[in-house]
Amino acid sequence: MKPGSVAVVGAAETTKMGVIPDQSVIGLHADAALNAMADAGLKPSDIDGVATAGISPTELAWYLGIKPTYADGTSVGGCSFMLHVRHAAAAIAAGHAKTILVTHGESGKSRVGAGRFGASPSSLAGQFEMPYGPVGPPSMFTVPVLRYLKTYGLGEEDLAHVAVVQREWAARNPRATFKDPITVDDVLNSRMIAWPFRILMCCLVTDGGGALILTSADRAKDFPTKPVYVLGTGESVETPLVSQMYDATSSTAFRISGKTAFDEAGIKHADVDHLMVYDAFAHLPLYGLEDLGFCKPGEAAAFIREGNTRPGGKLPLNTNGGGLSYMHSGMYGMYALQESVRQMRGIAPAQVPGAKISVCQGVGGMFGAAGTVIFGNEKP
């Protein structure tokens, strides 16, 4: 893809957010999709490409009455939507489709029409991790972190700072689930989930969804919305087993995905005005800042502590409040993308003044996958 040749022309979240007991998973996908179509001034019959995770693209297309020439069911966890954007950009450039809808919907809290959790006991995870007692992401995604902290001489208060700063952003976002300010002490005195992780270092569990519509930059000018250009993208996968990360202190998938996206966009770190790093847990922004190259290994905690990522800082990070304070339905990547698009349109609740380039980094599984999308609001 040539940087800036594809643009987001429709973007929306579900009408409701948080606890939504009256909508199923497929219903949340559809609600987000219809909102994004309304945003772009489109009908289902205008869409010729679909991409989603959690449900199949078949289910999505049929439910909305779309007869597509392009379907992407890439499902690598919460960053699947970053990969969908990447694949959509390539598909549009290749002429496989003109107008591609990417959706997410998840009844993470209410579990209405949701599938079941769990690995087969004969899978790799079923044989080599599940027998040792993990209970979902809070006791798995967190396993490498003590090694990271020891390697760089850091402690639990460094994780707490991440949560505190993100709450400062959430306070500026009317749709955020948690808006009240918190202190490092609040975080360190909150309920223990999986040492060293306390509940305020863990993401929310909520219901919601979001959708994006992409088309070529040439067509984008005919839409009612301000085009948000895709400047660069990257993706990678690493391991289905968190115990088998190549390096417990760094995500190899982040490094590959991030470098690919920066190289494609042809930008430098100093060009970036706004950053989203999928924060299922408080350590993710630390790994993200380092593995994307914004900080040297071991220096992200100080970077956050010194205020660089907070409102008014030089690198605003997770400006919707993140998975820790805004919302987290399970596959949060879509909400990170939505916030990047809002920032590039200039309509975010906590708008970064004059922001021109936004980097959006997703993670899938427990450091299993990564996707990166770099957006800009000026055509290069």
Binding site: S120, P121, S122, L124, G126, Q127, F128, E129, M130, P131, Y132, G133, P134, V135, P138, S139, M140, T142, V143, P144, V145, L146, R147, Y148, K150, R191, M192, I193, A194, W195, P196, F197, L241, V242, S243, Q244, A248
Partner: protein, 133 residues
């Protein structure tokens, strides 16, 4: 509630048979000498299919862990560590740490550990690690 146990596959059966017999079995590539885990019938480093099952020393260090305060029903009622150990031979593996309190004070990273095998059923013994004596 019975503990969640693995179901071996043809590619992993030697590992679980080893645990039953009190041996921690890894695999080593004949061509490039890489020792690896989890089991698979080829070398993940070079792709070679000529690999041998080797008995590991059973020595490891504590690499990383969490102490899970929301016990899974089949794991009892007390907090327990979900650990990654780094084997002397190089690979890492997930396990539990036995023979010491499940506290940050008792569980120091890099502490030396030794494998033991905890019989769960006629077919399955789990490789667990305890502080080295």
């Amino acid at each position: 509630m019975p503990r969640m146990l693995p179901e071996p596959t043809p590619e992993t059966r030697h590992f679980w048979e080893g645990c039953k017999e009190g041996e921690l079995r890894l695999q080593r590539c004949t061509a490039c000498s890489d020792t690896y885990f989890p089991p698979r019938p080829f070398c993940p480093k070079c792709g070679g299919r000529d690999v041998a099952v080797v008995k590991a020393s059973g020595k490891a260090i504590l690499w990383s862990y969490v102490i899970n305060h929301r016990p899974r029903p089949d794991m009892g009622t007390e907090p327990y560590a979900i650990a990654v150990v780094k084997l002397d031979e190089g690979p890492t593996m997930m396990t539990n740490i036995t023979g010491c309190p499940q506290t940050p004070e008792a569980l120091q990273l890099d502490m030396p550990l030794t494998v033991s095998f905890s019989k769960q059923s006629d077919d399955i013994s789990l490789p667990l690690f305890a502080p080295a004596k």
